[in-house]
């Protein structure tokens, strides 16, 4: 009697969240794919498979995908999204790696407070923090004045991040800065948890064998933190590809991103199948990084178990 009870408890425990995920995560994706190849007749989708005159008919419309492949604007938008997401990831890594490193090497008593301080902005509205950058970077905003005063805008202009010196808002610069700001904690936290666990005796051994601190850093610390680098980069890169709110608030006409195109297809053009196709192509683009991320997660779990 007892094993039977346990078994049913186990089934319910796994079954309830599993069913929820199948219904609200897996099924919507299947429907998304189906609608991306459907024809829209006024407001009703035509059934993919119809039975007419004793024949099963399958009607799949690949026109949207062909259009996405042929249209130069879509291509440019996908490339731009990947480019801005990559730039954001790189910036987060450049700021976040040393940050996580120094955090992990801070005194043991200071570490919980530092961790809390990194987590705190999470609790404050993301939308409002992004909105705040609008004021800081707009003409005569604090940060804009600081950047222009230091002459750094010339450098940004040379890098192609702003179209003209002196104008920072609604440029690739403001977009990448806003995204890097928002996703920085997602880079710091996995890197920190990785670096904090590192066996420092390895560095002592390297020093004993004559490696300079710099050489030891590149040959030991960085390779050992690879898993953290991958996890952090994926946590920044993937959501950035499809980001909508930040490009809408901080980006400009020159920073078209795929999330905005999807939004417009859906809300402005009311072309639901087209929006679904754009989404499917977006998933295809991020599926490799997503698989990498899941693989890392599984490995981390194995290690813990």
């Amino acid at each position: 009697m007892k094993p039977a009870r346990l078994l049913s408890g186990r089934k319910a425990l796994i079954g309830a969240p599993y069913l929820w995920l199948l219904l609200f995560f897996a099924l919507p994706f299947l429907i998304l794919v189906k609608i991306s190849v459907s024809e829209m007749e006024t407001v009703v989708f035509k059934d993919l498979i119809t039975y007419r005159d004793g024949l099963l008919q399958l009607s799949v419309k690949l026109g949207n995908y062909v259009f996405i492949g042929e249209d130069a604007l879509y291509f440019k938008t996908y490339v731009a999204s990947l480019k801005y997401a990559a730039a954001t990831t790189l910036l987060c890594l450049l700021i976040g790696y040393p940050f996580a490193y120094f955090m992990a090497r801070a005194s043991a008593s200071a570490q919980p407070a530092l961790l809390m301080a990194v987590m705190l902005p999470f609790w404050t509205s993301f939308l409002l923090r992004v909105y705040a950058w609008k004021g800081l970077l707009s003409d005569n905003g604090w940060v804009a004045d600081l950047i222009i005063g230091s002459g750094a805008d010339q450098l940004l202009h040379a890098l192609g991040m702003i179209s003209a010196p002196g104008k920072l808002m609604h440029t690739p610069f403001s977009l990448v800065l806003g995204m890097a700001y928002t996703y920085l904690p997602f880079m710091i936290l996995p890197l920190y948890s990785n670096l904090a666990k590192m066996d420092l005796r390895l560095l002592e051994a390297a020093a004993d064998l004559g490696a300079s601190p710099w050489v030891a850093f590149w040959k030991i610390t960085v390779p050992l933190s690879k898993a953290g680098i991958i996890a952090g980069s994926m946590l920044v890169f993937i959501p950035c590809v499809g980001e909508f709110v930040i490009p809408e608030l901080l980006g400009g006409p020159e920073t078209l991103m795929i999330g905005r195109v999807l939004w417009d297809e859906f809300f402005s053009n009311n072309d639901w199948p087209m929006a679904a196709s754009v989404a499917v192509v977006m998933i295809l683009l991020i599926i490799v990084p997503l698989a990498l991320f899941n693989k890392y997660q599984a490995e981390a779990q194995e290690k813990r178990a």
């Binding site: 346990l6 408890g9 186990r10 425990l13 796994i14 969240p17 599993y18 929820w20 897996a26 919507p28 994706f29 429907i31 998304l32 609608i35 009703v44 989708f45 940050f99 490193y101 120094f102 955090m103 801070a106 301080a117 609790w123 404050t124 509205s125 939308l127 409002l128 923090r129 992004v130 909105y131 705040a132 609008k134 004021g135 707009s138 005569n140 905003g141 604090w142 700001y181 920085l184 601190p213 994926m234 993937i238 959501p239 499809g242 909508f244 999330g259 999807l262 939004w263 859906f266 639901w272 679904a276 989404a279 977006m282 991020i286 997503l290 991320f293 899941n294 997660q297 599984a298 813990r304």
Partner: protein
């Protein structure tokens, strides 16, 4: 010795600069909410007029009420679902479709929200056409938020569950406790802290969400972030700063109070444990 000093100061400087970067926008929001000038560029003295304007702003106040209700329901739903998912993943190393399950749990964390929102909406519309239910509104926004919140709650609760000593549960079972008793009397008290964090995290997540809400809301169910977002798109608006300051204040008080409460519970439990160890007086 000297290079070590230099390194130490470089490290501190980097951390300080990083924190300035993280906190600068929050400080700016609070300061500008008291600025008499509608332009953020110049400081023209202290005022409370944006807060007074807020009290008259029915659009914003109504949307706040709706957002709070959805956030409360989301936090409760996410914690229940997330705890179940975390228990399933930690307790049972092997079950059919475990890989798919763990993939589906964590995917919403990284999946772009436009894709999540669009796919959920298309499903809801399909279902609605078939059976005439559900209408877009509170319930549908809750579904989307709870799906995302579940992913966060699972991560938080799972991290705590893996730290637990399994021998405590085994001991309870040896002493004859039923599985449900083991859970409520042994496991639950030990994970309360993580449940609280997960609840607060998913509450603020729901209170902040723009994209899912936009896809899943219907006429008459405009949440506060949607109102703020549409105003922020148009330009700078000091009343948005005033709302932001209030939210920052409430969240700060909430987080501090919660951590205080958690610390007190922890102390009390330790105290009880110490008392139990002593012979009866």
């Amino acid at each position: 010795m000297t290079t070590q000093r230099v390194n130490q100061w470089f490290g501190r400087g980097w951390l300080a600069a990083g924190f300035v970067f993280l906190y600068l926008p929050i400080v700016a929001l609070v300061l500008y909410s008291f600025n008499d000038s509608p332009l953020p560029n110049q400081w023209r003295g202290f005022t409370l007029r944006w807060y007074r304007a807020l009290a008259q702003d029915h659009e914003l106040l109504n949307s706040l009420g709706l957002s709070l209700r959805i956030a409360f329901a989301t936090a409760c739903g996410s914690v229940v679902l997330g705890t179940l998912a975390a228990l399933a993943l930690v307790k049972y190393r092997r079950f059919t479709g475990r890989t798919a399950f763990s993939g589906m749990v964590s995917a919403p964390l990284v999946m772009p929200e436009v894709v999540l929102g669009l796919s959920l909406l298309l499903m809801l519309v399909s279902v609605q056409r078939a059976i005439g239910f559900p209408e877009r509104g509170l319930l549908t926004i809750w579904m989307g938020h709870a799906l995302l919140g579940m992913a966060y709650a699972t991560v938080v609760v799972q991290a705590r569950l893996t730290e637990l000593n399994p021998q405590l549960e085994e001991a309870a079972m040896d002493l004859g406790a039923r599985p449900w008793q083991v859970f409520t009397l042994v496991t639950l008290p030990m994970i309360t802290q993580s449940l609280m964090s997960a609840w607060l995290l998913t509450f603020t997540l729901s209170l902040d969400d723009v994209v899912l809400s936009a896809f899943l809301s219907g006429p008459g169910s405009t949440t506060m972030p949607l109102v703020i977002f549409s105003r922020a798109r148009l330009g700078l608006d000091p009343s948005v700063n005033a709302v932001a300051t209030l939210i920052v204040a409430v969240v700060a008080v909430g987080v501090v109070a919660a951590s205080y409460w958690i610390a007190r519970q922890e102390r009390r439990r330790q105290h009880e444990r110490a008392q139990a160890g002593q012979p009866a007086a």
